[in-house]
């Protein structure tokens, strides 16, 4: 097992290296950040000064070499636009995004698994059909549109919930979180629901498919024949077996929730990392883009590893053997 973990970490280092190279070349190909950063009133001398100050007057290879040297020392550079370390900029926003993503995942799992089970156990009932139709909507409606509709209905018409922003934060173990206050929760609910919608549909469908398949298996028939109560058959035997694909997908999707909460964050003015990424791309703020992607790649690696570890706990047949990977 330790060998597996080490090998994974080495692989992710390689991914980080290739990714940073691509981003460097990509941003360079798009345009010159100085064109956007410098005030329109600036004259040629000012522009030259700003270019030199950001180190952008040097050849791309030299710029990349400087980046690698600093990155090896743990410094991913300073944001062109904000003039603060890129890492600091991202870590400042990370709690907001994590809070949103965890809330969305909780909604998806807590609602999705029971609903999926229900739909799987009674596929032809009205409830089962309604759940499945609803999940199609969850899949197919674009997030930004649903977000705007949620705002329209719950903020503008009904006036129940705030339309945007994050509520007041409190420190929990040194991390600023907003879900501890009523106002914070009110701010969290709409964006979390919006972000959860797609994942909710996914969990429902996975659970339903798994349930239907499991119900036909011998062990379920055997359990029923043994005279076990339906609650025990479903709650223990079926549920445990369908959890493996659900955990995989939830794990992988959690990464994408964090990395791509962009749309929801923009619609709800949620001050998270996704919004920062979009703004940084618009400003060609290369250090922030690179640092963001480094962090996301690392997150994905860690999450995938966690999923694999969770597998081995859920399914005794799966073992993270050093030889098999």
């Amino acid at each position: 097992m330790p060998v597996t973990i080490i090998r994974r970490l080495l692989q992710s280092l390689l991914v980080l290296f290739v990714m940073s190279l691509l981003v460097f070349a990509g941003v360079y190909a798009i345009g010159n950040p100085v064109d956007i950063l410098v005030s329109p009133q600036a004259d040629q001398a000012e522009i030259a000064r700003a270019t030199a100050a950001l180190g952008l007057d040097r050849p791309l290879a030299a710029q990349y070499w400087v980046f690698l040297r600093q990155a090896a020392a743990g410094d991913l550079g300073r944001s062109f636009a904000f003039n603060v370390p890129a890492i600091q900029l991202i870590l400042e926003r990370m709690p907001a995004t994590l809070e949103l993503a965890i809330a969305a995942m909780l909604i998806a799992v807590v609602l999705g698994i029971p609903l999926g089970l229900w739909a799987g156990l009674a596929p032809d009932s009205i409830a089962g059909r309604t759940i499945m139709t609803g999940s199609i909507l969850g899949f197919s409606l674009p997030t930004f549109w649903v977000g705007l509709m949620l705002i329209m209905v719950f903020s503008v018409w009904l006036g129940w919930l705030p339309s945007s922003g994050r509520g007041p934060t409190l420190e929990l173990l040194g991390v600023p979180v907003s879900f501890l206050s009523r106002e914070g929760l009110a701010h969290l609910l709409l964006p979390a629901a919006n972000l959860a919608l797609f994942k909710l549909a996914l969990v429902i469908r996975l659970t339903r498919a798994g349930t239907r398949e499991a119900l036909l298996q011998d062990y379920v028939r055997y359990a029923r024949a043994k005279g076990l109560s339906e609650t025990r058959v479903v709650g223990v035997h079926v549920l445990k077996n369908i959890l493996i694909p659900v955990v995989t997908v939830v794990g992988l999707e959690f990464g994408s929730l964090i990395a791509f909460a962009v749309v929801t964050e923009s619609v709800f003015s949620w001050p998270g990392m996704g919004k920062l990424l979009i703004e940084s791309i618009n400003m060609l703020d290369r250090p922030v883009i690179v640092a963001y992607l480094c962090i996301v790649v690392t997150l994905f690696t860690v999450i995938n590893l966690a999923v694999d570890l969770a597998y081995s706990l859920l399914d005794p047949r799966v073992r993270l053997s050093d030889a098999a990977t």
């Binding site: 798009i30 600036a42 003039n83 903020s155 503008v156």
Partner: protein, 517 residues
Amino acid sequence: MVSPIRFFLLVLLLAFGPALHAADLRIALAADVTSVDPHFANIAPNNNIGWHVFDALTHVDENARLIPGLALSWRAVDGTTWEFKLRRGVKFHDGSDFTAEDAVFSIERAATLPNGQFAGFVRRIVAKQVVDAHTLRLKTAAPYAMVPQDLNSVFIVSRKAAAGAATEDFNSGRAMAGTGPFRFVAFRRGERVDLARNTAYWGGAPAWDKVSLRIMPTDPARLAALLSGDVDLIEQVPPADLARIRTRADLQVAQKVSWRTIFFHLDQYRDRAPGVTDRADRPLERNPFKDARVRLAMSHAINRQAIAERVMEGTAIPASNLVSPPVFGFAPGLKTEAYDPEGAKKLLAAAGYPGGFATVLHAPNNRYVNDDQVAQAVAQMLARVGIAARVETQPISVYLGRARAGEFAFAMLGWGSFSGDLALRALLATPNAAKGAGTWNWSHYSNPKLDALIERSFATIDENRREAIAQEAMTVAMRDNAVIPLHHQLVSWAMKRPLAYAARTDEFTFAHHVRSR
């Protein structure tokens, strides 16, 4: 961690306390504030915050005209010396008195801050002399009329608080001591800036105890925040939503012509302009844009009124100048070119293009109001006189780099300037890096007469004479159709009644100018 009792009390307070204090104001801003250091990035969102906390020696009014700020008056002692008489009895938020030393310190900080973008405004000042605590003399190497104008961009910080301070010290609030109408409370990057009233403000204490400026770059989110009552006022209202806001009895709109003028650059330096061909895609012998008749024909082919009314939904006024009407140096004698497709065809025929020609029209698609749609409309209008313009739009981050590299022959640009001569120097003066002229002259338009007028204007100390020269320069450039001016944007704010906002040509959103009627 918060103790359970305090946490409980806080929950109670949040749940049952008053939702909002009566004299609090919440404003949604359309663009991100990257820093609150007033001498770091010269971008409008940062400067907007700066104007709440700081003052400059000179201010501008709603019409973008220069008025006294921390300087009560200024005059040119001789051709190269400006004397500023400073306001007395003004205190910084840190309690220290405002004196000429603070002004000198601020000018020096603007000139030397690493990565700072304000050095250009003070570069021409070669010597600073503190005559007494409230008299400051600034010397330039050559006669230079723009010193008071340039100092409008230099925020005055407290020497006591900001000595040795880096950008981080401003962001954290440690060095954020100005003389402005609001004291700085907190900056949460990407989220909001909180301010509190400066009761001792020299211009009269503002009406609001607390101001919260929220950053909401997404248009629908900003509008929803206003409609749901989360904020009291929003800036940069998208034109498509104005009609809806006007139908609501509880909301109102404030509007004014912006200093931003939209126009088209036309390649006038290359014999073969990129992307310009005949209508069968064969390269042309000559560059048609070099012919003033062709440029005039294109101007006549554009129905500016229709674009302002339809595409811009009433939020633009047709332009004849490169600066908008309230701005210094606007030449009122110039008339908007009439919409005259028949005349345009005749001009094209006279210039040797009876069958028209083909070109690419480049425009950004995320910079100006409805920029891509405006470009489409212009292309269709040009098609009617025989010019087949294919529209290519890009995000501004890609667009600017390509434009600077000279890849465009026919390209849209928007420009906001405090004065006509400044705009002309950047946009139409013969490019000259040593003089800082023609930085944005993508056309490479070059007219010795215009260059001479611009230089004379910059060296003319007398305001009235300078404005006359600036107007003459504008007239020369526009009569020659050096660029094709399209329209001046209108800028809109929407707010809850009974709030009222003194709408500004420079597009800034100032909490201290929001009144509750």
